[in-house]
Symmetry: C2
Subunit: 346 residues, 2 copies
């Protein structure tokens, strides 16, 4: 009898999974050779992605934006992939915002110095008021790296009052808390109607223990830093539910191995190549495969009111071993065996 | 007038500092080539040190102890340096403890798997009772790496009840909480008469922010991991006071650069070459130079009832730049300028 149960269970196991227009709402594609390396890995499995603007120099003029749009489009061909571009937040006048409005999905705000290439970020949010008012008026969402300059574990929690202030002061502005890492940020979603969030794959999987509990793992080092088990649990609970104001945003951020295995290791987890396979594995482990579609696409399409061209991405139950490196970049789960594969592009 | 004040201040500045028999009560000297490299750096500035036994294989037989004693003595010559040896905790019978008793200062207990080479550590403290009773009877102190197997930031706090239980169950046993990192551990010192502690130089200086708040700094990665600003402040306050039950124990733990700047970075800060100069700088910054002697020697001599041979170590106010490496090991404060130097050995 035990055997026949096992057989029944096996029969019920899904062997493939179709996702309608999966989207990564927070992605770093870089430029030059790194862009060429990583863009196809995301474009192969996504209908689109929100592309972050923290380059050197940042994407903060219409001309720079046009140039980067062309570079990303070239690197992502031949896939049916829609890059949703962003500007790097600074004071913009109405003419500039009007000129770029149809070419961007939002503007990304970094407090000065909190992460990779954020040296030109915002020092004083009061000085940003005029631009924020214009964005509210023009319907341009605000995407925020929400960390204070305090103690590393407290930075996100300390920034939450800023979200509260911004969302209240600009009730017509869509505000996205990017890559949230704490239970407190999850709770804030239910407090303010115009506040939304992305969460990364890796923050659904790891805590500070995975970074520093055994040997130190530089390839799991990212900003915001992974927090406590209770935080991870709250994030995972919200993703699996799935919380209607929460979207997948991988924050996949490639750095060459020499910048990671070094004194002064750069912040960023390169999850792009394993994004959907690992999400399928995670959602399946929690009996929530049927809710993956909403988390990886439906919520984002509703929140941002976007409608990417039709594209169905197939995952199949076929084990594969994650390569140790893509070029000179070490991916998340390098060398590990995953149970779900991307079906060959059709 | 301002000028003459400045001159007065300059005149009051100490230009040299004599320390009577400074001791490092927690030191990793390793074996072989690493021992040859690091032992002279500690022996040059210390009258003695407690030498940790977590080697492969561990120091846990009289024969292995005799061999390691000879190796350390050879490596530390020609300095007037007294190594205080330890055994790796396991079940020992009375005959063995009697045989080694005069050759060791204590027995070091590692819970299984919590740090470098602790795979053979203790799984169940109840099984240790008989040996602990013998140690109490023979007057052999117990030195403990006090961490649970919980979340990395909670491990020391979770272990404190074990200290409380041991200290109460064996009131005649001298118990040393090694390399404490939390305000809670400092507070526990005042609760139990037979409980003492060491604290490292680096835990007086850094928090988790220094490890992971900016770029990730593998050379500041250690176990127990550096904690919150409030914890550092409590440790520093106790060292500067100086708390009569607190001793300097550097936990200087050299690893080759290839084991630090790597995926899977080993835990350990190599502070030996800068130990007394950086302590002098720290105590001076807090107007506590006159209390350094107690912290680096007097307390340890009283607590352990040891009397190392006379040795005066001189520090002079002379700036120097810490080398980037000693052999293939990166020291604490590599490349930085320090204000106090060790006077040439006389």
């Amino acid at each position: 009898m035990a055997n026949s149960n096992a057989v029944l269970h096996l029969k019920a196991m899904m062997m493939e999974l179709a996702l309608d227009r999966p989207l990564d709402m927070h992605l770093h594609l870089r430029e030059g050779a790194m862009l060429e390396l990583v863009a196809p890995l995301s474009a192969a499995q996504l209908a689109g992605a929100v592309i972050m603007p923290n380059l050197v120099p940042p994407i903060d003029t219409p001309a720079r934006l046009a140039q980067y749009r062309a570079a990303v489009a070239a690197a992502a061909a031949p896939y049916a992939f829609t890059p949703y571009h962003t500007l790097f937040f600074r004071a913009y006048d109405e003419a500039t915002l009007n000129a770029v409005r149809d070419q961007i999905i939002g503007i990304k705000l970094y407090p000065e110095g909190v992460t990779t290439n954020s040296a030109g970020g915002v020092r004083n949010l009061d000085e940003a008021e005029q631009t924020l008012a214009l964005m509210e008026q023009l319907g341009i969402p605000l995407l925020v790296h929400g960390e204070s300059h305090g103690f590393v574990l407290d930075r996100e929690a300390e920034f939450l009052p800023v979200y509260r202030r911004l969302a209240t002061r600009f009730p017509g502005l869509t505000i996205v808390m990017e890559h949230i890492t704490t239970a407190a940020a999850v709770a804030l979603l239910d407090e303010l109607p115009n506040l939304f969030a992305t969460v990364t794959l890796h923050h659904l999987l790891i805590t500070l223990d995975d970074l520093a509990g055994g040997l130190l793992q530089p390839h799991l080092f990212c900003k915001p830093i992974a927090k406590r088990p209770g935080d991870r649990q709250a994030l995972l609970g919200a993703a699996l539910r799935p919380h209607p104001k929460l979207m997948l945003g991988s924050d996949s951020a490639p750095h060459p191995i020499d910048a990671k295995e070094a004194a002064g290791c750069a912040a960023g987890v390169f999850s792009a190549p394993v994004l959907l396979p690992m999400l399928a594995e995670l959602f399946e482990r929690h009996d929530a495969l049927d809710r993956l579609q909403a988390f990886v696409s439906d919520h984002a399409r509703r929140i941002y009111a976007i409608d990417p061209p039709p594209r169905r991405v197939m995952l199949i139950r076929e084990a594969w071993r994650v390569p140790d490196r893509y070029g000179d970049v070490v991916p998340l789960a390098a060398g590990q065996q995953l149970m779900w594969s991307l079906a060959p592009f059709v």
